[in-house]
Point group: C2
Chain length 733, copies 2
């Protein structure tokens, strides 16, 4: 029965990919509209694809370097599993592929969405949402495909008697974490590179176009407008796709590894197997429910905005409710020990995600007081907008942190049978809460990815001169996307915190394997020796003195906190620099190319695209490499306690910093929109100008630095896990 | 000999207060200048004093509440030492007194400085610097006075046989930490209240006066100008005085407590005594060397700016070099075990302070690339100034964090005899490094406090119409103060990180005392029981499982990180709100009172003073109370592991956040000055306007939220220490 149940995982994966293909084909059948629309869509597509190719080239070199390093470690020094280099590659490949396919679909869908919006709001919604669903389903489909493939392969090739029977699944699951690291590496480059690209173009286009020349957004006279639309695709679509592929796989893999570790002492291979496949099964069921949810998003013709929001909300809520029921069912079918309480942990994860999403909405939507007050602060100029926006973002960290803390404690207690000392199962509970949070990613990502498609459709409509009515419809779709995206972001950030914790535990498990490889058979725990294979988490903590009084732990924590800020500083500066180049170029074109502003001459779009591409590529390398190097270096200097300090310091600071930046940025964006809706003087007023400054500052906050932090947190953990063998073998202190 | 050496401590304290009195009298003998100058100085003094009275009233109520709480705990439930409530009061009183005396001197000195500057730059420097020295010496003098008093009193009243002979000094030193908590509480209110006051006035005055009306800074036509000058006194003088009193005492008390704890097992009361008084002796010698340094600041008549900088630098450097020599000497005289290496720990502390100061200077001074580039980013408007400034601040966290990490490891290894497992002495090394860093506070604070005096002198000169030449001289003095203040800030932030770590250890020590009070005689450490009096730090960590895998520790860390952001968010918003009221009032006066801008009518200064006062008082209560409540609540829910997580999470995030905010703010300030010096278009250009936005945003960063974080970090630890008895007796989990 259990073996049979596993086949649900590859089956769900194939199902997801099949529906993705179906939605893609459906979308392709629609008309792209007027020749002008086709031309613009093609230009955006060309720019996006050429950027992605360049990015993959650079990432390819980084991957080559890392694969060589891993190969030396695995084949040369034997401090690593032999499958590591290849697993690493497939993770990177599939993560990139998710972004690529999602983006390809998005660039074909935007003109079609605009064209459909010429008829009705509803038509536009359907195309945009179904195209977003392609991305959602590709991510979850490829994720489970990679997981199934490696699980089956490693099961076949790794001998049953590695050390003890329960060790086999530990080796399998920790090896699989390597492909998580590949996915994280790819995702970090995609998020950082894409984030820099899109915000350099956006900031550049806004600063000169909107503020100086006074032309509307997406106006074809603005030389940076194509680059801006390309940016939406490479940043908000391809970047997000790679990002969530990484989050999704990361949470499942970390939980599987914890499941394997929790039963390492008991010798109970059956229960161990169940604990390993449980997160995969929940994800598989989540796919099916996501597809049901996607199909339930139906609206009548001539639907109002409220109907649309209701339809999208119905789809995601339906999937969420069903997954709760399905989780209890599947874990009961699996006959997992303590299945009822572990199911409760899954529900806790879902609830935490929803609370974070709601809190994000409250702090960033113009329907609520905080953002309205932020708009009002524009009365006293841009400086007070910035001060208030930063204040708002910092305050907004309280609810998500409290939600996560309650979630950690609750999911830990449920899964551990209300016993704090049952660390293995407790942490498993935290991991499976993250899986629960992301289980319906298929549909939440669909509502998320549909945003940039609608945004691009608006751009296409504006540039093709489709008229105010169509633009109004695409704006409505876009604004709808902003609201649903808030929930999506909540899930991404929340799951990063929980997955980060689960990965800490996997790191400790990897230490055990590293020690085994070195021939160590027992460790010293406070004077007594404990056989390595029987050592608990607690024993490892005490053996390495990973307590808060160890200066190595404390040093690691300071470095971890600093890493979060340093990383954001690097990406913020990157956007600042790249945007400055863009501004110079746009100003130059307005100055030197006669007739742009009167609409007689076409600006040189390609040059702006090239500037963003070059800027993003140059600037993405340093922050990404730092994320890889920091845990290796910390490990070599401070050993295991230092690395754990680094990871937890980076996790706690990075999580809070990420919420702050995302919410400040979101609130600034919507505060500007609130003014544009006619409040405090409306468009063109001094208050509007002040809020535009806030919006511009918020761009890299919410779309470059903030979301990249989620990946940074996990990538540092994954690097630490993969490099654990080295850390164990050698460190200065 | 040892007993004799101790008397150096009260002697140095009296010496410091004597010289402070001398400098104050010298200053008072000078002329305050023209009747107009006298009138303005009196108005500022009146405003400052009336604010301080109001603040003390509110703080008085808070203290009353806390004293009642402590009394109930101490006399009612017996979970606390009986001296706690009174010690708490004296700390608060002396901290407030330091700020009050420093501010009183400053408000008398500003007009006299301006008047002396009418003759020569040198005359102005001498008065301003000597008046700053009053503050420096009052802080260190009162600090050591309070320490000596309590040390002698508790020595006399606590019986020698509390538990074991070595326990007496533990009880004494941890009780003395309570007066540290009193000082921290007072300091937090002073910093937050003063910070909100000064920045509300500053931002309000700038936004309407400089940006909208286009009149210069400190122009008498600006209704907020008196409030702005009052703000410099209540925020930058009184607030800083209370703050550094707290830092100074905190580092000495925490180190003394660690010294007592390090010898608790050995039973070696002689060495324990030596370890306790060593930090006090270093501080006492530091006072003497500070006075020597202050006297060495001499300049010839007609000194250039460079001469002045050289003179100030010579004074502080001389004190620093002498303290290195004196430390080796005094610890050798004391015959402290391992005196040579412990002296090295002191030197490490000094070096870390200097590195942080230099790094601050590099990132925030317009003489270096980062700030110059920040000015240049103004070419593309205010948004890029904000993005680049935030990027700069975040990047600037790297060097200080690395310096502190190297400092932690080095001072720990030196003091512990290069043995990581010798936790007691290792942490003592970290503590004594903080003492070393602050040992010459007498003179570093003098160079720091002289800045706002010079600033106010400039204001007085401008409002009294003393002419461009005098204003130029006071500007030169002011700008000199900005440079020296960078070093001062480095010491304040760096010492907070090290003291924070030392306080963690004191917390654990207090847990032992709390358990003793409950009648516990042994604790369980991994299956074996250890007598409570013999338990090491390591044992406590394992007994309470304060490891990085404990969800209570992890939850505490998330909350700690969040606390730092929440606190900053509250204070940022407070400044935003108070400044908005100020802007409204200034605009109203310009609109309603005819003849202000032509200089015919005098604006209603008093009303602006009242607005800042009211705003600061209303807004300071919530953030300050949260800092006190968070550790209590965390302790009641998550117990000891949760509290330790909270403290270390708050420390690591808060430290990095404080550096980021201080440096971003400082760089924005100087980027504006760099433009005003004639670069990128100079005053009145678009670039200038953009950098003014940066400067305004930076005001609460560097003068409200950033510096308050240093206190927050320590206050949370102190509250935890004082409340340890309660946490041990009862918690939910």
């Amino acid at each position: 029965m259990d073996q049979l149940l596993f086949w649900l995982v590859p089956a769900a994966s194939v199902l997801a990919l099949g529906f993705a293909w179906h939605f893609h084909r459906q979308m392709m059948k629609q008309s792209e509209g007027t020749p002008q629309m086709i031309k613009i869509a093609a230009a955006v597509r060309r720019g996006a694809m050429s950027y992605l190719k360049q990015q993959y080239k650079i990432v390819g070199w980084v991957f080559l370097g890392l694969v060589i390093l891993f190969s030396v470690m695995a084949y040369g020094f034997d401090v690593q599993n032999h499958w590591v280099p290849i697993a690493f590659l497939t993770g990177g490949f599939f993560s990139g592929l998710s972004g690529f396919l999602g983006m390809k679909t998005a660039t074909y869908a935007s003109a079609r969405t605009a064209n459909a919006a010429r008829q009705s709001l509803n038509g536009g919604l359907r195309i945009a949402f179904r195209s977003g669903a392609v991305m959602g389903l590709v991510v979850v489909g490829l994720g489970l495909l990679d997981i199934s493939f490696w699980y089956l392969l490693l099961n076949a090739v790794i001998p049953a008697d590695v050390l003890t029977p329960t060790h086999k699944l530990c080796v399998i699951t920790t090896t699989m974490l390597t492909f998580g690291m590949g996915a994280s590496t790819q995702a970090l480059f995609a998020r950082v590179g894409g984030g820099i690209y899109t915000k350099a173009a956006d900031v550049g286009a806004d600063l000169v176009g909107k503020v100086e020349a006074g032309i509307p957004e997406d106006d074809p006279r603005n030389p940076a407008t194509i680059a801006d639309n390309v940016g939406d695709n490479v940043g908000d679509v391809a970047g997000m796709g790679a990002d969530l592929y990484e989050s999704y796989c990361g949470s499942i893999l970390a939980t599987a590894a914890l499941g394997a570790a929790a039963f390492i002492h008991s010798g109970d291979t059956t229960m161990q197997y169940k604990a390993v496949i449980a997160p995969m099964l929940i994800a598989a069921v989540g796919i099916i429910l996501s597809i049901i949810g996607i199909f339930s998003v139906r609206t009548k013709e001539n639907a109002t905005m409220k109907d649309l929001l209701g339809a999208l909300g119905f789809g995601t809520n339906l999937s969420s409710v069903l997954i709760v029921v399905a989780t209890f069912l599947i874990l009961w079918l699996l006959k997992l020990d303590n299945w009822m309480w572990i199911s409760c942990s899954v529900v806790v994860g879902l609830l935490v995600g929803i609370v974070i999403g709601r809190s994000t909405e409250y702090y960033t939507s113009q329907s609520y007081k905080p953002t309205q007050r932020l708009s009002e602060s524009g009365k006293t100029g841009p400086a007070t907008v910035i001060i208030s926006g930063i204040g708002l973002g910092m305050l907004s960290t309280a609810i998500p942190v409290i939600a996560v803390v309650v979630g950690i404690i609750a999911s830990y207690l449920f899964a551990s049978g209300f016993d704090f000392s049952n660390v293995g199962l407790g942490l498993y509970g935290i991991g499976i809460a993250a899986v629960g949070m992301l289980s319906t990613l298929g549909i939440t990502l669909a509502t998320d990815a549909y945003g940039p498609i609608a945004d691009n459709a608006g751009g296409n409509a504006e540039m093709s001169g489709l008229g105010a009515e169509v633009r109004k419809r695409t704006d409505a779709l876009d604004s709808l996307g902003n609201t649903t995206a808030a929930t999506g972001k909540g899930f991404a950030i929340g799951s990063a915190a929980l997955t980060g914790l689960a990965l800490l535990a996997s790191y400790v498990e990897e230490i055990r394997i590293g020690l085994t490889r070195l021939g160590t058979t027992e460790i010293n725990v406070g004077g007594t020796t404990v056989p390595l294979q029987d050592a608990t988490f607690f024993d490892f903590m005490h053996h390495y003195d990973v307590t808060l009084m160890n200066p190595k732990v404390l040093s690691g924590m300071f470095i971890g906190s600093m890493m979060a800020f340093l990383f954001c500083g690097l990406t913020m500066n990157a956007v600042g620099r790249a945007a400055a180049h863009m501004v110079d170029e746009v100003r130059r074109q307005f100055r030197e190319i006669k007739g742009i502003l009167t609409g007689e001459t076409e600006p040189d779009y390609a040059r702006c695209v090239a500037i963003s591409t070059k800027g993003a590529q140059r600037e993405m390398v340093v922050p990404s490499l730092i994320a890889i190097i920091a845990p290796i270096l910390t490990g070599l200097i401070f050993g295991v306690p230092g690395v754990l300090g680094l990871l937890i310091g980076g996790l706690s600071s990075g999580f809070v910093l990420a919420i702050f930046m995302a919410n400040s940025g979101g609130a600034w964006d919507n505060a500007k929109k609130y003014v544009e809706e006619g409040n405090f003087g409306g468009k063109g007023s001094e208050v509007h100008k002040a809020t535009v400054v806030g919006d511009t500052v918020g761009d890299p906050f919410k779309d470059t630095s903030g979301p990249s932090l989620n990946i940074l947190i996990k990538l540092m953990s994954m690097v630490a896990i993969v490099m654990a063998g080295l850390t164990v073998a050698w460190s200065v202190f």
